[in-house]
Amino acid sequence: MADVKVYQLSDIGKSLQNMIEKHYQSGFWIKAEISKLNYYPKTGHCFPDLVERKNGKIKAQMRSIIWSTHYQKISKNFLQIAKTPLEDGMQILFRAKVSYHQTYGFSLQILRIDPKFTLGELAVEKEKCIYKLKQEDLFLRNKNLASPLLIKRLAIISYNTSKGYADFLNIINQYKNEFKIHYQLFPSLLQGDKAEQQLVEQLQLIEQRKTAFDAVCIIRGGGGEVGMNCYNSFDVAKTLAEMSLPVYTGIGHSTNETVCEMIAHKNCITPTDFAYDVIHKFKDFALRVEVAQQQIELTVSHAFIYTNKYLQGISINLQKQVHNLVRFQYQKIKQLNTQCQLASPRIVNSARENLFQIQNGIKRKPVFVLHTASQMLNHQKRILSLLSHQILNSNQQLLANQKQRVKYLSPEHVLKRGYSLILKKGKIITDLDNLKKGDVIENLTSKGKIKSSIKDIQK
């Protein structure tokens, strides 16, 4: 141990101080999350615990300090630009000086905070929230609930002393004789980081009693434009979106619309507007009832007038149709009468025409028949004459032939050709047996008789 150099604690402290001050002479821009702000209003100092997370786990952790003089300026500037105070859980970009103090140790002194970075981070957070709501199909859920025709029973999330609540009641009370509204207050902080949980709790409480109400409203007013981040919280937004009752918002601010307002059944901007909305629904309902009542009286009387007219119309039409029918039948009978008048003589005329034709036929034919008969008789006569002459002529011919034949066969005709007949004692000899030598015979010729005697007979 004797060889070992032993330092005083202060030596180390001084060495560290020197080294750090030498190494971290100027300031740095650092990005971190405020895990806890640790503001002490009495002294005005602030000792934020800073963390860096990765995948939910703490990767680095450091304490920091904002001196009251700085804090006043930083806080004011931040609120002005980011529209929200510095809060636990906020991502910030800050310029810091790293220092080491022998007594107090290591410290990170925050000199400036860039509110625009946080604003950007918040915007990113808001976008993420919207994205998640859409992912879970919650973004339009409350909007898509049926709008109550009338908000007679209302659950109000507000704060007793809230100016917005007072504004709302003020207007509602003006109409209390005319329109009876039942409402119940569910108190809750309305801004700042503590508001988130209360809002969620009250919404859940109302959800348990959902049958007792027609609608829910979140009313806030009179407050500044700051501390609205709770309305961008995913937890609050999800709870709101999942409500069975329509949720109205009247948060009364002029900054960008928060997520809750976006997904609310209806964002009325201010409590007053919402109050008028409620009243308007009453008036609207009243008007519709009124109109319906008037319409009924009017339409009923119209219906009677119309029905009466219709009946009358039918009655008139009945008369008309009856007359038409009768007239038509008269017309028909008349038509038939005319047809009968025209057609009847036609039958007689056509019969007469037919008769005339027949008569003409009879006139022509018998004359023709007689003429033909007469022709035929003449023909017979001619034939008779012809045939008679034929017979006579053929007999003439026949006689001429016979005469010719007789002439050729006569003996004179034979002797003329040189033949002669032998006669013996005046008789013609045809057989030689009856002759003998010495017999005297006569030869007869055409010129005369020769007497001779037979000298010889040769046979």
Partner: protein
Amino acid sequence: MKKMKYNQALEELEQIVTEIENEEISVDDLAEKVERASKLIEACKGILSKTEAEVEKILKGMEGEE
């Protein structure tokens, strides 16, 4: 000639016309047949005239009613 139906008369008449046309009637019967036809025509004409007058009268009456 006795009272005779028009249709009956017309039928007989047409029969005669057909016979004459077809020369089925001998010269001996011709005059008689023509005589008959003539009588039938006369009868038909008579019936026609009578019918015409009757119809005329009825139709006149019908028109009068209107």
